[in-house]
Every structure is written in structure tokens, then in C-alpha cells.
Symmetry: none
């Protein structure tokens, strides 16, 4: 084969029927960082404009796609290939999950192997003769009540699992952006709020004040407010307790003045 | 809401543009055992024949799909909603992986909560104002070199993770404390607070109102307040805005009366 080194798993589509599905596969390959696409006997020939039109700009897997006459040729240079099916077959072949497949393929890559994923066409799926050229069957755990999984979706699931391992699955930090405010800032917010609530007669009856304070603090602590948010909320407390008061004060003054005039 | 019990996560599509994508979403929902679809302002109206044509027989999510005017209405009966985006936003909201999301939503279901996943439309994705009504952002770990993820693929990834956990059938987790309030209760709190802040002149300058509202909602959404806590906080808002007002009103009246006497 011309390809010197395959740093990532190859995606092989056996007898794909619809060009827009091939395009959709290219798109999802690009989403998850896969690059090499192989087509075995695309029904309507190759290249097909509609594939590029459906790839939303993910042209490179299509531009570089090689066409093969049969699965045997398409996997000829690969050392580890898994066949993806929605439906388990009567075949003496290990059946693994997409997650296990991703793990094994990633390990294989790490050992310098050339690896691939084989997908069947829209209608027929994979023949047992084709599966027999692979080292395991990957079964996507779909609901047996509705097995008709779109080709690009099947590629997406396995490519997603591969991507997670490529990233070494570092989950994003709990929060992007500023850190939560410290205890002193939160205490400042609490005391400001509670002081205003005290003035407003919120804590009633008085003996319930400690538990009411505690419940409020508990609810607000859970939000993990940032410093900026604490400042905003203190502004909220001030606005509510002073602003509204000013409005009512004005109304009361006007009323009193009118009463005085009458 | 009419729906008595939501045994599985609801899929909410905000402003979907293409009927065939809505159909593709229904198909992948059926693949992974999801049932309830909600549409917020589908661009071309609803129902649309093309959606059914693209669902490959997965008619039931489409047949049962309800249409909503805005995200707030669509999440009104849900207690835990995650917003799915390909691109992290500048928003103070926890960012989690699809796997973490599936785990939290499955736990929520086990605790009897109504839960959902919110997805943005094809072009615009989600507005920060919509994300502000959710409790976390789910980011699919796609390659930053090609972020254009198809809507149905985004649903597929998260639905697949949910399906894996459903098959694992984890024992219902013990819930600490009462359930989170639903979207309607939270919206009631937001609008009450914002109304009082508006009266108090908090939103200044006026053109900043939307971003100020959004930041407040985001911070408060994260806390996952219970119904009781929502009631308490509405009491806080009332006390701050009225209670203090009453005190000042009284003082103002006394002053005015004294001035009248003098």
C-alpha cells in the first residue's frame, strides 16, 4: 500500500449505497479526528459530488478516499480490523463493545499496528464472509426494538470512543472560567443578606433564625458562586432593600403631602 | 404538564431548521431507546412530512413530539436539564462530558426526577440565555479542527452513553434531600426577582439587562434549588423589596406628618 504509516484507525465502508451517507461519515470522521477512508464497491461509483456536498466541509477524508473491489483488498495492509454491526451474527468471533474496540485499537496503534474499522452498507450490512476477515465484531448496544442504525451514526459512536481514548479521556474541569469565591467572600454575602433580612423582619419567629439562616446558606453555597457573582448578588441585595424602599418612601411622601394639602 | 411520568430523558431541540435532521434525531432516539421529543420553534413549522420520511420508521418520537414557544416552556416540568454544545461557552456553568451527563441523568431518573437534554439548532446552537436555564453544559469532545457536528450525531453520542447505563441497570442511587424544583418553579423565581430588581432600578444601563439577567439565572440555576428553597428565596425577595420598604414607608410617613405639624 502507498500509505506509509497509519497513525489512526482506517474507516472502511463496505458497499455504501448513498453518497450523502458517505459524506456524513467523512464529516463525523473529521469531528472525531479520523482521517483515512476506504470504500469497497460504492454502489453509485466514485467520486460522487453529493458526498462532498454532505460533508459540510470535511473534504479531506473524501479527497483521500481509496476505492477497493472487495473487503479483502481493503484490509490487506491492516493488522487489526473490527467489523461493526448492529446485529450480532452467528459467527465464532469475539463480540465486543465500541468502548472495548476503541481500547483495543488504541492499544494496537500504540504497538505500531495498522488498524481499521469495517462498516457494512445501508441495507445489507456485512456478510459473514467479510466479518471472517476481521478479528472481532463490534456491536453497538442499540435497542432491539429499533435496530435501523444510520451508517454515519455507527461510525460516530466508535469514532467518539476512539476520540475519548486519544484525549486520554480528560474530562473538562468542573468549571471553565473563574474559581468559586472563597469562604470569606461567601460569608460577606451571607451576612449582608441576613442583615437586610433581619431589618425587613424576615426572620420570624425569632427563635427560628438560626435554622432559617442555615437553610439559606446551604442553598446558596451549592451554587459555587464566583467572586463576580458574589458582587452581583450583593448588588441584588442592596438594590432590593434600598431601591424599592426609596420608591415606597417617595410614594409615602407624596401621599402624606397630598393629605397635608387636603 | 400533561405527561404524568417521564421514565427516560426528554430530548429537546431548540430551533431545529431541517426536517430531515429532526427525523434523524427521532431515528437515533429509537436506536437508543429514548422516546420523548420536544421541539422549540422548529423553523419550518410542525408537523413536517420530511421528518417522518427521514426517520426510517422511528415514528413514535415524532408522533408524540410537542412544540413549545421557548426553552423555558420546554423545560418547565423538568428538574434536571443539561445543554449540549460542541463549543464551550463563556458561561459560569459546569462543563461535563457526555458520559458524566448520562451518569447524572440516569441517577436523576433513579431518584424519580424528570430530566432532559437540550440541543441547539443546526446553525446557531444554543443561546446563553437558554443555557442559563440548565444545570450543566455537556460538551462532546470533538476535534477543534472540525467542530461542525451534525445535530443527530450529537443526540446519538449522548443517547448512546445513556443506553450503556440503562443496560448496566445501576441500582437507584440514594438521593440526598428533596428533588430539584422544575423549570417552571425556577422561572417563577427568576421573574419575581427580576421584576423587583427592575422596579428597584438595578438593571442599569438598560441595554445591559439581558446579560445581567442571564448571569443571574446562570448562577442560580447551578444551585439546583428544591421547591422549598425556591419558596424561601421568593420570601427573601419579597422581604427585601417589601419589608424594608414598609419600614421606610412608615418612617417617611412619620417625617411627613411631623413636617405637617411643624
Amino acid at each position: 500500500m502507498a500509505e506509509a504509516l497509519l497513525a489512526k484507525p482506517v474507516v472502511i465502508l463496505n458497499a455504501p449505497q448513498l453518497a450523502h451517507n458517505i459524506g456524513a461519515v467523512a464529516r463525523v470522521m473529521a469531528n472525531f479526528g479520523l482521517e483515512t477512508l476506504r470504500l469497497v464497491n460504492p454502489r453509485d461509483g466514485w467520486p460522487q459530488e453529493q458526498a462532498w456536498a454532505s460533508a459540510s466541509g470535511a473534504d479531506w477524508p473524501l479527497d483521500g478516499a481509496n476505492v477497493f473491489e472487495n473487503v479483502g483488498d481493503a484490509v490487506a495492509d491492516l493488522q487489526l480490523v473490527f467489523a461493526t454491526t448492529a446485529r450480532p451474527r452467528e459467527l465464532q468471533m469475539p463480540v465486543i463493545t465500541p468502548r472495548q474496540a476503541a481500547s483495543e485499537l488504541t492499544q494496537g496503534l500504540g504497538q505500531g499496528l495498522s488498524v481499521g474499522l469495517l462498516f457494512g452498507g445501508e441495507r445489507a450490512g456485512l456478510e459473514t464472509a467479510d466479518i471472517a476477515l476481521c478479528q472481532a465484531v463490534v456491536t453497538i448496544p442499540i435497542d432491539p426494538k429499533f435496530r435501523s442504525l444510520n451508517l454515519a451514526q455507527a461510525v460516530a459512536i466508535t469514532a467518539y470512543e476512539l476520540r475519548l481514548l486519544e484525549l486520554d479521556a480528560p474530562p473538562p474541569a468542573f468549571r471553565e472560567g473563574p474559581a468559586p469565591a472563597d469562604g470569606a467572600a461567601m460569608m460577606g454575602l451571607f451576612q449582608h443578606l441576613e442583615g437586610e433580612l433581619e431589618t425587613a423582619g424576615f426572620f420570624h419567629p425569632p427563635e427560628k433564625t438560626p435554622s432559617m439562616v442555615q437553610n439559606l446558606r446551604t442553598a446558596l453555597s451549592r451554587a459555587r458562586f464566583s467572586d463576580q457573582e458574589v458582587r452581583t448578588l450583593r448588588g441584588v441585595v442592596t438594590a432590593l432593600s434600598r431601591g424599592r424602599g426609596r420608591v415606597l418612601e417617595k410614594i409615602a411622601r407624596q401621599k402624606a403631602e397630598k393629605a397635608g394639602e387636603a
